[in-house]
């Protein structure tokens, strides 16, 4: 069942960016791309030929593979089905974050592998904001751990303790959910930190890192990003809606609803806000971290 949920999320993943962009086009009264646009993009790219820069080494070719593996492993640490993950052990929250860090490490090394100034710029921004996001993310994780007295994601999100916390200290959990959503937008390169629709390299963060990837490699990277969005979205959904008591079908249904809501939420933010100036981004991330920090203080008192 746990594997089936993982496969379900992996199949559903490319839909979430589609939902976000569809929401945006509805809100801004444009025709917009269909929701399954990313599926056809991935299909098209996977059959295309690829171009490799002569500057690059094997690191560059490892990028899509390690990135995608890291996201899949992170997904298998998360209790997607609402009870237990495929991999669970004490402190697996750390593994969740650090496996994603492994993917990022290879991704940005690949960017510097090309020797392009644009990609160096993107790599620099990515590691800068990721370091700050990591800080905020662990405040949220520490709060969840303190609230549920659990050390693993499966324990935190799949145990009755979370439902109890919702009834005892809902304000803290609401702040954690809000904080996590703020960090999700930063981590998954969405507005207001990054603009996935921009066409100007100087303003990009994520898009500019993968400027030199093409064909199947690019398809894998785009897919890994969509999956990462779903994985962090699922984490958010599981914190927001504890479903320990429900049947399997209901739990997966709640997850699907949660992911849909995340997609819509991203679309709403993107149509309501412009991208922030880069020097303002640290403040934005600090704001998201502060929300979780308040929750942690509430839970510790």
């Amino acid at each position: 069942m746990r594997a089936a949920t993982l496969v379900f999320v992996m199949l559903l993943a490319p839909l979430i960016p589609g939902i976000a962009s569809r929401t945006r086009s509805i809100l801004t009264a444009r025709r917009g791309a269909p929701v399954w646009q990313l599926y056809s993009d991935l299909w098209k790219l996977s059959r295309r030929g690829s171009v490799y820069s002569r500057t690059t080494t094997v690191v560059f070719r490892l990028v899509p593979i390690v990135l995608m593996a890291s996201v899949v492993i992170a997904a298998s640490i998360l209790p997607l089905d609402g009870r237990s993950a495929m991999l669970r052990f004490p402190g697996d929250v750390v593994a969740f974050a650090y496996v994603l860090a492994l993917g990022r490490f290879v991704l940005v090394l690949g960017a510097l592998d090309t020797g392009s100034s644009f990609e160096g710029m993107g790599a620099s921004r990515e590691v800068t904001f990721a370091a700050l996001v990591e800080f905020g993310f662990f405040i949220a994780l520490a709060s969840l751990s303190v609230a549920t007295r659990e050390l693993s994601l499966s324990g935190m999100l799949g145990s009755p303790a979370l439902a109890d916390t919702w009834s005892s200290s809902a304000p803290a959990l609401i702040m954690i959910v809000a904080g996590l959503f703020v960090l999700l937008l930063a981590e998954c390169s969405r507005s207001p930190v990054d603009d996935p629709t921009t066409h100007l390299e100087l303003t990009m963060i994520h898009e500019v890192i993968v400027l030199d990837h093409s064909g199947p490699d690019l398809a894998m990277i785009l897919y890994a990003n969509a999956l990462k969005l779903s994985v962090i979205g699922a984490l958010l959904a599981r914190v927001a809606m504890p479903t320990m008591e429900l049947s399997y079908a209901m739990r997966v249904g709640v997850l699907a609803v949660g992911l849909f809501a995340v997609g819509v939420g991203i679309g709403v933010v993107e149509s309501a806000m412009a991208r922030l100036r880069l020097p303002k981004v640290p403040l934005y991330i600090a704001g998201g971290s502060a929300l979780s920090a308040f929750a942690l203080i509430l839970l510790l008192q």
Binding site: I73, F89, G91, F118
Partner: protein, 655 residues
């Protein structure tokens, strides 16, 4: 014990061999064989003690005050012995290849001192009484100084040596004071006697713990006592930097843990202080590392960071003991010890790799390098494994120990007393991880990837195998520990239990290690490797179905990209350093066509050097006391004798 002494004699023999045979090939071969054999022999009893949990020792009678000189291995010594011998052997072999490049510096003295330094280091961690400990401690300090001064014809090395010797003297002074307080009650100065004797009043205990933090802190090099470390690590030859960073500074950690076994569970304030020092050391260390352009100075600041992480584990352990959670104490100390060992491994890899880069290009300035991955593939392989390990990503050893420190802090958050506040250190450690990732992407990317920025990098060639193999062997050990922590964690918990004063049997240690999830780390590593392998196959299939072309890097339509257009280390780190403002201690120069930054050390340049000037001025006033005139010195001697006689007379009269 016989094996340990055998190993140490082989190391001494290695020193003698290289002194007598000087620089010829045979001398080097004999030296390398003897050092590796000696280290291998020394490792055997260390591993035995660590896995069985039973200590061994032998005593030598002494006519000096303080009773017998006891040399022994207990679980705590054993962890550090493994670091000494493991890193020592790899660095010594590498050193032969490294020094061969330098025609101006005779290599044999540094090789001989290196072997003797290994002996001194093992004696420091095996000494079980004050007298042999302080003796070995000073030998080690002098040995380190001589090693730092290997390239004494460089002013940089002389300055680093001066700063080091001043710092280490201050530390030794604090240690003398500490042992004086500890030993003042009895005539038996063995550690076992000191541990059983209770120290009262509590003021004495506070003094001992505070003095230990200063005395051992200088050696460990945590903030704000780290200022000697970056110049020394940068100025020494690379294999010596590896030993300094991997082992010598760890002896400071050893000392702190040893003091805990002597005075019993420290009070809570000490635990909070150590946790706070660890956190500030870790964050500032990695931040300052990010600002460096000299690759070895950068690695040196990372030692400050990692000592901070070790202190965080130690502090959490001390807090666990202070608040009455022995299992937390064992876990915290165990995590600190494992990170000590891990840091010794991956920092050595990185310094040895940096040394190979320096030898093949002639510069340590990252801004002049680039594209070395193609020219030095094996160096790059070892370096990237070391980088991934120091960042703490799975499946490498750095992840295992950082994960344990995290776990200790998370578990502290479950407690109902004040201990739960320790969970606030969790995000700090996460920030350190994020910054370390930024820093090592900068090093790896700017030095090894992209296109060469200068002709030095362009003309670099493959280093000899003697420079590539030792780091690769250490990298294999990093992967081993990262994939199979079940084999390494239990002995660390035994040693952690030893420090916490809660004996842990080998069987219990295995259960504890499994309880914290060490087995699942192996599963994680296995699944990760399988997923990567599977995806590699899929990617190869997909890449095969359509044409693959080679072209230039896309530069947005600009037809003539040059190597100078690449992002530099300065520009890569700039956004992060700007966020931290003045704390990041970097001077930035901006111009229409120029952007570069130069790092300053807040403590060394901001506090130590100005205060040093004040002390120097004060010292000048005292100069008339020492002018080199024999008559005046004789007068000092006579007046001292007279004063002592007067004292005796007064005492006799009083009776």
């Amino acid at each position: 014990m016989i094996l340990l002494f055998g190993g140490l004699s082989l190391l001494v023999a290695a020193a003698l061999a290289v002194i007598s045979m000087r620089n010829n090939r045979r001398g080097n071969t004999v030296f390398a064989t003897l050092v590796v054999a000696g280290c291998g022999l020394g490792l055997v009893p260390a591993v035995q003690v660590l896995y069985s949990g039973t200590a061994v020792s032998s005593a030598f009678g002494s006519t000096l005050p303080g009773g017998a000189w006891i040399i022994g291995i207990d679980p705590l010594s054993a962890v550090f012995l493994i670091a000494v011998f493991g890193v020592g052997a790899a660095a010594a072999v590498y050193g032969i290849g490294y020094m061969a490049f330098d025609a101006h510096t005779p290599a044999w003295p540094s090789h001989a001192i290196f072997a003797l330094e290994l002996v001194a280091l093992s004696l420091v961690v095996c000494a079980q009484a004050i007298m042999p400990f302080m003796g070995a401690w000073e030998l080690m300090a002098i040995g380190s100084l001589l090693l730092i001064l290997t390239e004494y014809h460089h002013a940089e090395a002389r300055r680093a040596g001066l700063i080091y010797i001043c710092a280490t003297h201050v530390g030794t002074l604090a240690l003398f004071a500490m042992f004086a307080v500890l030993a003042r009650t009895g005539s038996d100065w063995s550690f076992s006697a000191l541990a059983t004797g209770t120290i009262s009043p509590s003021g004495a205990r506070i003094a001992v713990l505070a003095l230990a933090l200063v005395g051992f802190g200088v050696k460990a090099g945590f903030f704000p006592l780290h200022f000697w470390l970056p110049p020394a690590h940068a100025a020494a030859p690379s294999h010596i930097s590896a030993l300094l960073s991997g082992v010598v500074i760890k002896v400071g950690i050893y000392g702190l843990l040893r003091v805990i076994t002597l005075v019993g569970a420290p009070p809570a304030w000490w635990g909070w202080l150590v946790l706070g020092l660890g956190l500030s050391s870790a964050v500032l260390g990695v931040l300052w590392a990010l600002a460096q352009h000299d690759i070895k100075r950068l690695l040196a600041y990372h030692s400050v960071e990692n000592i901070g992480i070790i202190l965080m584990g130690m502090g959490a352990g001390a807090l666990g003991a202070a608040y009455g959670h022995p299992s937390l104490a064992i876990l915290g100390y165990g995590a600190a010890l494992l990170h000590t060992l891990n840091h010794a491994l991956f920092k050595s890899i990185l310094f040895l790799g940096a040394g190979a880069v320096y030898r093949m290009t002639g510069t340590r300035n990252m801004e002049e390098l680039g594209g070395l991955a193609r020219r030095m593939p094996l160096t790059w392989l070892a370096f990237v494994v070391g980088s991934a390990a120091i960042i703490g990503v799975p499946p490498l050893n750095g992840f295992v120990s950082e994960w344990l420190v995290f776990q200790t802090l998370f578990r502290a958050g479950f407690s109902t007393d004040a201990l739960r506040i320790a969970v606030l250190a969790v995000p700090g450690l996460a920030l350190v991880g994020g910054l370390a990732l930024a820093c090592f992407v900068k090093v790896g990317g700017v030095v090894f990837l992209g296109t060469p920025r200068t002709s030095r990098a362009l003309t670099a060639s493959k280093p000899p195998l003697l420079l590539d193999c030792p780091p690769l062997v250490l990298a294999a050990v990093c992967v081993f520990i990262g994939c199979l922590p079940m084999l390494v964690l239990p002995p660390m918990l035994i040693a952690g239990g030893f420090v916490a004063g809660v004996p842990v049997l080998p069987a219990e240690a295995g259960v504890m290690a499994a309880g914290v999830g060490a087995k699942q780390i192996s599963i994680l590593a296995g699944v990760l490797a399988l997923t990567i392998a599977g995806l590699w196959l899929i990617a190869q299939l997909l890449r095969r179905t359509a044409p693959v072309r080679q072209a230039e890097t896309w530069s947005c339509g600009y037809p003539l990209p040059t190597a100078r257009m690449q992002y530099t280390g300065s520009s890569f780190a700039a956004p992060l350093l700007e966020i931290f403002g003045r704390l990041s201690s970097v001077r930035t120069h901006r111009g229409a066509s120029v952007f570069h930054s130069e790092p300053v050390d807040l403590i060394l340049d901001g506090a130590v050097v100005p205060w040093w000037a004040v002390i120097e001025r004060a010292a000048l006033r005292l100069r008339p006391l020492q002018q080199g005139r024999l008559s005046r010195y004789l007068m000092y001697v006579i007046s001292t004798v007279v004063a002592l006689l007067a004292y005796l007379l007064v005492r006799a009269g009083g009776r």
